[in-house]
């Protein structure tokens, strides 16, 4: 037997998902994250899930190691080497601030302080011509400085190196020869794109992370091998694919958003399996909610992700919007008498008031407990909740609003849901889409609590809750391919562009990509390439990727496709407008054979008995309802639960209000929709 094992390390928990060959239900485990040495938690989780690594043929890992290093700024000593006259590109940035009005809230300082940003005389112009040669005497002095300061890793970032990397390469070779133990990232190899700030910033992050990632991946590989695993270690990256350890050392900064992508990938798979081409994913945890979108079966890729505002990592990254709305979000009444929820969170400690760990502020979880929506015992009894403490916290809000305890609790949940609804709207509108055409996939511990109410607010057609909402991200890690992204600038007027030159550029990118995949050990027949041309109307500042599905022989059809897509996304186009090309890119996939999911066996057909009943106050309708509580493990395929109902399981709780019905599908998902009679009304 050959297992597939995924381990997704989050801030609080390490989640494990194990799949066998024969489509049986996954085995899952959840253990506390061991922040000091995350690998211990990984190994413990694997053991708890009962996975034998000697029997494992695919191992995938989502990690917060890179994210935490950037958050805590715990790096080896690093330096930036750049063109004379451009020492401060990563400090000046684009000059913007995240908080537009608070003059006391500053942008985080650059990752490399000015003292460690060293300049060298060299210059290439916008056409790639060398204006000033690289000054080797200065380069030599610079090496002395790096050696004296015991710098461990260097980012080399020269202006216009995206057109001609000759000086960056020369500097790389010189540094390698002089300082063989120092890691070097050069910007033209890390992100071969125009825009110096974005390229430099990405390269700096890459230089900071590559020694760390190399060390971490090496240690984990060793531990896995010691436990019998003899396959490759696959690391989840922000682009929604995995990389091997070798590739991760080259493009370490791609791992900075490792933790976010897996949930989005899982939601896409789940929605498509349920027949939804368009879906929104809502992953609500303790402190924040991650939201993503699938349109026409595709996740959107963006290029402006960052841990700290102003210091972007511009690798292609699945679009995930994170907002401060989770179970621990704190409710408060502001100066104007308005009820607000978050973005401050009670976190894991002290946590919601009902945890009894000293928290006194009312949180979303407290409001849910007051309304009977969650049980007083969570996670199979490992977390007991104190209703009296929750009531005390929420009643403070009630006093400030001069309303009843019940109204205050309902108000907290309405405001929390509205925050989520606004974020879902922003994400769908960014794609020019009407949220009503989308299904909602809800997971994370708290996602299924909010899902149906949000569906009602946004007029969404259906809600899907996967079988193990709390470990959905780990599940996503098992649905990925090896993925590399390569691009080349191609700034031309479309009319003047030579199709032959486009085709040959694509071929060059593809051959580069193929080489990387072969190095990853991918079989040639498992390689798949996707081509895109970024296009824009002449004068526009942002471009739009147009998929290219065959060899380029003429440009007319692609321009036509751009006009159509512009109209679809933005509601208008300029039919006679001049179109410019901007960039050619290739996403290269090494297809990993996906697990088969067998249909689960249906139940006996007998009505399912609730495991209990309690009074629950839903957000809508008004009033308390005697509500049956079902255990998720009792619900086999074809089971049907009509609201009002609560479906409880160790890692989550799903609320089914009146007028909504949940059925269990063959994959074990809850499919929740509004009753037909109700819709007709």
């Amino acid at each position: 037997m050959a297992l597939r094992v995924a381990v997704d390390v989050g801030g609080t928990f390490t989640d494990v998902c194990v799949l066998g060959e024969n489509g049986e239900a996954p085995r899952v485990a959840k253990v506390p994250t061991t922040a000091e040495s995350p690998i211990d938690g990984v190994m413990r989780g694997i053991a708890q899930a009962g996975a034998d690594l000697a029997d494992t043929r695919f191992f995938c890992h989502g990690t917060t190691v890179a994210t935490n290093a950037l958050l805590n700024r715990a790096f080896p000593r690093a330096a930036l080497v750049t063109t004379r006259g451009f020492r401060d590109v990563i400090e000046i940035r684009r000059g913007t601030k995240e908080d537009l009005w608070d003059a006391y809230k500053d942008v985080a300082p650059p990752y490399i302080a000015r003292r460690d940003r060293l300049v060298v005389t060299e210059r290439v112009d916008a056409t790639g011509r060398v204006i000033e040669p690289l000054d080797m005497a200065e380069a030599k002095e610079l090496v002395d400085t790096l050696r004296r300061r015991q710098v461990r890793t260097v980012a080399v970032c020269f202006v216009n190196s995206y057109v001609n990397p000759v000086h960056e390469i020369a500097m790389l070779e010189f540094l390698r020869a002089e300082l063989p133990d120092v890691a070097v990232s050069i910007s033209s190899a890390v992100l071969d794109e125009i825009l110096e700030h974005e390229r430099f910033s990405t390269t700096v992050a890459n230089a900071l992370l590559s020694p760390l990632i190399g060390h971490y991946a090496g240690s984990l590989e060793k531990r896995l091998a010691e436990s019998g695993y003899n396959g490759r270690l696959h690391l989840m990256h922000g682009g929604g694919g995995v990389m091997t350890t070798q590739a991760a050392q080259k493009h370490a900064a791609r791992l900075a958003s490792s933790g976010l992508a897996a949930g989005a990938v899982a939601s896409k798979h789940i929605a498509l399996a349920c027949g939804y081409e368009n879906s929104l994913a809502l992953d609500v945890g303790g402190t924040s909610a991650d939201i993503s979108i699938v349109c026409g079966g595709e996740l959107k890729v963006v290029r402006n992700w960052s841990v700290d505002f102003g210091h972007p990592i511009c690798f292609p990254n699945l679009e995930v919007l994170t907002i401060g709305a989770g179970g621990g979000s704190i409710a408060w009444v502001d100066d104007g008498g308005a009820l607000r929820v978050g973005p401050q969170s009670a976190g894991a400690a002290p946590g919601p008031a009902c945890y009894g760990l000293g928290g006194t502020a009312a949180t979303t979880t407290d409001a849910q407990l007051v309304l009977g929506q969650i049980d007083t015992s969570l996670a199979a009894g490992s977390q007991l909740l104190d209703v009296a403490l929750a009531k005390r916290a929420v009643s403070k809000i009630a006093r400030e609003l001069n309303c009843s305890l019940e109204d205050a609790a309902v108000g907290i949940l309405r405001v929390a849901s509205a925050n989520l609804a606004d974020a879902l709207k922003i994400l769908s509108i960014r794609r020019g889409q009407d949220p009503r055409d989308f299904a909602l996939v809800a997971f994370g511990g708290a996602g299924p609590m909010h899902a149906v109410h949000l569906a009602r607010e946004l007029s969404l057609s259906a809600v899907v809750v996967p079988p193990h909402p709390g470990v959905t991200s780990a599940f996503g890690c098992l649905l990925v391919d090896i993925r590399h992204d390569f691009s080349a600038m191609f700034i031309r007027n479309a009319q003047a562009a030579d199709p032959y030159e486009i085709e040959s550029t694509f071929l060059r990118l593809e051959s580069h990509a193929r080489k990387s995949l072969l190095e990853d050990g991918v079989e040639p027949e498992r390689i798949s390439m996707q081509r895109f041309i970024e296009m824009r109307y002449h004068g526009q500042s942002r471009s739009m990727p147009i998929a290219v599905d065959q060899p380029v022989r003429a440009i007319g059809g692609l321009v036509e496709k751009f006009h159509v897509q512009h109209r679809e996304e933005f509601g208008f186009n300029h039919e006679h407008g001049d179109v410019d090309l901007y960039q050619l890119s290739v996403s290269a996939l090494g297809i990993i054979e996906k697990p088969r999911f067998g249909a689960l066996s249906s139940g006996t057909g007998k009505p399912i008995e609730p495991v209990g009943r309690r009074m629950v106050r839903f957000i809508e309708p008004k009033g308390w309802l005697e509500t049956p509580v079902y255990s998720r493990s009792d619900l086999c395929p074809d089971a049907k639960v009509t609201g009002p109902a609560v479906i409880a399981q160790p890692d989550s709780t799903t609320l089914i209000p009146p007028d909504w019905t949940a059925t269990v599908d063959q994959m074990g998902n809850l499919r929740i929709s509004m009753d037909v009679e109700r819709q007709a009304r």
């Binding site: 400090e91 000059g95 004296r148 108000g411 509205a418 922003i426 004068g539």
Partner: protein
């Protein structure tokens, strides 16, 4: 009418009563989202790279034209003006507005900002009634006039500045009025981009309209309209509650434009008086100078946005809408002043003139009332416009190189100022990429870095400005304009803090054809090989620089934020570099104590040195501009070195009040 007052109105509580507070909060956020969605769409479709750099704003106004929600990422310089535009359209077309109509205007004399800020407005109907107006306002790259980019610093009247669009219908019942669109676009240097932006803005307002319709579907028309009122009442309540917790009183502050080109030399005062009484804030700009002979005047809209932006800095978490504006009154004083200019006075440079000075005067005032948010004078937008024919092998086109820098913000209470941050014009206003500029213009950037020593010295140092040096390569017929200020009205510090550095553009510095253009220059011919250099100001220092911890000065020296030379002159801190280890810098404690004693004993006297004598030493190369503005309090023409006696007299008076009177122990 001599005064334009924004009237104080009572909270309309009968509307609020109909709404429960949670629905009101849900809808208030939904309105903000509706406006932010417009911004999302506009950013992705606009043509003007100025809009793309986030020089835009958006608003949802109610049926009276009052603002319900303003975009959360809007540029500061346009805030507080969207309701004026909405009211101008509603007044001009009263009884003649149909579903599917869209209107356009850019008129600064009816509450707009400047001609480039073109506002596109879409009335929103529900059940046949006009219930709201969606508005998208964006800075077009060009709206005609004598100069490229429609920025002509020498303009004195609007006719030279650009096309004035009073409220005009541009879509009628859903049909685009192509003839009108063409008339507008044809009056710009780039008709395709103008129509592109027009379409992008009109389509963005449709996104807002769709959202409002969805909310009506979900909550009902009555509730949504009630929430329009309650959203404003809520903001007004917040502001009034906070203001009523502050002591009543009166404050005043001044800041200055460099000079009036139609008069002699001498700083042009802009006076802001403010009174808190009960729960209201009352501004009075009536003591300001008459309108001046350049484009650095402001009509009342631009001055109003400055009052709002300045005040909002001290209420950073309060959302902007007409409720905010109702808690303030503004008396713009008599018409015809630099802050209340009327047609046909040139006003395009309002952002570098009155806007900036009002905001910084308001910083001074509120820094006294809320010391925990105090901030010294901060950098404002400076702007180069350079156009001509691109003579590089592949292109025969005209190029347009518009460039602006970031600069330093003022030192704060307990915190240094921010380095190289977008200006008080709007901190979302993004810099452009050098590589993209080099691709699209025959201009090569040689230096684009932080400017060492540019942060105003203080116990808490002002943030650093930048220095940029560019060279023209293959071009023909290139013409340059520079739109800035603060070559003479240099940014000064607060509570004993010191000054930054003067603005000004140099052509071919340190060569035989060196030319100094100062802060304002109009249509100056330049040729290939010319090199242009300019600094952006740093922020003013906060508190006495002799009180700054020597360790902090040493760290600044290690990072090259402060030079060893100026560490001694400005801070009295003697930093020495270790002979054996070039990375090691140390403070010489004994020498520092002696130097600080010496400076305490002499610095007040230096400010009384004969200015002619100081100017001569500057001409002779013995003193630098830093020495003049910081140690001697002397302002000269930085190119010729000629003393500006009237400016110097006033500058010394300012330093006396803002620096010297706070120096302890002399």
């Amino acid at each position: 009418m001599t005064t334009q007052r924004v009237p104080l109105r009572m909270i309309e509580d009968e509307q609020a009563d109909a709404l429960d507070p949670v629905t009101a909060e849900v809808l208030r956020n939904a309105f903000m989202t509706a406006v932010d969605l417009m911004a999302e769409q506009l950013l992705r479709t606009c043509h003007s790279f100025v809009i793309h750099a986030r020089d835009f704003s958006g608003g949802l106004c109610d049926a009276n034209g009052d603002t319900v929600a303003q975009g959360s990422s809007d540029v500061a310089v346009q805030v507080g003006t969207l309701h004026f535009s909405a009211k101008a359209v509603l007044d001009a077309f009263r009884g003649d507005i149909c579903e599917g109509d869209v209107f356009i205007l850019n008129d600064p004399y009816s509450g707009g900002t400047h001609f480039n800020d073109v506002r596109v407005l879409r009335p929103i109907f529900s059940d046949g009634a006009l219930i709201a107006v969606a508005q998208s306002n964006g800075h077009w790259a060009d709206v005609g006039g004598a100069a490229t980019g429609s920025f002509d610093p020498s303009a004195t009247e609007h006719f030279g500045e650009g096309l004035r669009i009073t409220p005009v219908r541009i879509w009628s019942r859903g049909r685009y009025l192509a003839d009108v669109g063409r008339l507008i676009a044809s009056n710009t240097r780039s008709p395709e981009d103008a129509e592109g932006d027009l379409r992008a803005q009109a389509e963005a307002t449709r996104v807002c309209e769709r959202e409002v319709h969805r909310l009506i579907e979900r909550y009902g028309q009555g509730t949504v309209i009630a929430a329009f009122g309650e959203s404003q009442a809520y903001v007004e309540r917040v502001v009034r509650r906070r203001v009523s917790a502050l002591p009543d009183g009166s404050w005043e502050a001044e800041d200055y434009i460099d000079n009036d080109p139609s008069g002699g030399e001498g700083l042009v005062p802009i006076k802001v008086r403010m009174r808190i009484s009960g729960n209201g804030v009352h501004y009075d700009l009536s003591g300001s100078h008459p309108a001046i002979g350049s484009f650095l005047n402001s009509a009342f809209g631009g001055s109003y946005s400055a009052v709002i932006a300045g005040t909002k800095t001290f209420f950073p978490d309060v959302p902007l809408n007409s409720g905010f504006y109702r808690a303030l009154t503004v008396d713009f004083g008599p018409r015809g002043t630099v802050v209340n200019a009327s047609w046909p006075r040139a006003v395009t440079g309002f952002y570098a003139g009155p806007y900036e000075k009002i905001v910084n005067a308001i910083f001074q005032i509120w820094s006294q009332i809320m010391p925990e948010r105090a901030i010294a004078t901060s950098f404002n937008l400076e702007y180069v416009l350079l156009g001509g024919r691109d003579a590089r092998p592949h292109g025969q086109e005209q190029f347009m190189y518009y460039d602006w820098m970031a600069g330093g913000w003022g030192g704060r209470n307990g915190k240094d100022g921010s380095n190289a941050t977008a200006s008080i014009f709007g901190v979302g206003h993004a810099l452009q990429s050098t590589e993209m500029q080099e691709l699209t213009s025959p201009i090569m950037t040689r230096v684009c870095e932080l400017k060492t020593d540019s942060g105003g010295p203080g116990e808490f140092r002002g943030g650093l400005g930048m220095v940029k040096e560019v060279m023209l390569t293959d071009c023909e017929g290139a013409v340059l304009s520079y739109c800035s200020d603060r070559a003479k009205s240099v940014i000064v510090g607060s509570l004993g803090g010191s000054s930054s550095c003067p603005h000004g553009l140099w052509i071919n510095p340190a060569s035989t054809d060196e030319r100094y253009l100062g802060a304002l220059a109009s249509r100056v011919p330049v040729v290939p090989g010319d090199s242009l250099e300019r600094p952006s100001a740093g922020g003013g220092g906060y508190g006495d620089p002799l009180r700054r911890a020597p360790r902090s000065v040493r760290e600044d020296v290690v990072d090259g934020y402060v030079s060893i030379d100026r560490a001694r002159k400005d801070y009295g801190v003697v930093v020495v570099r270790d002979a054996g280890d070039p990375d090691l810098y140390m403070v010489d404690d004994v020498a520092t104590a002696a130097e600080r004693r010496r400076l305490r004993a002499t610095r007040a006297g230096l400010l009384e040195t004969d200015p002619e004598h100081v100017a001569q030493r500057y001409k002779d190369g013995e003193l630098t501009a830093y020495d003049l503005v910081r140690q001697y309090g002397v302002i000269v023409d930085w190119g010729s070195g000629e003393l500006l006696p009237e400016t110097t007299r006033k500058y010394r008076a300012i330093l006396h009040e803002r620096c010297r009177s706070h120096w302890a122990g002399e």
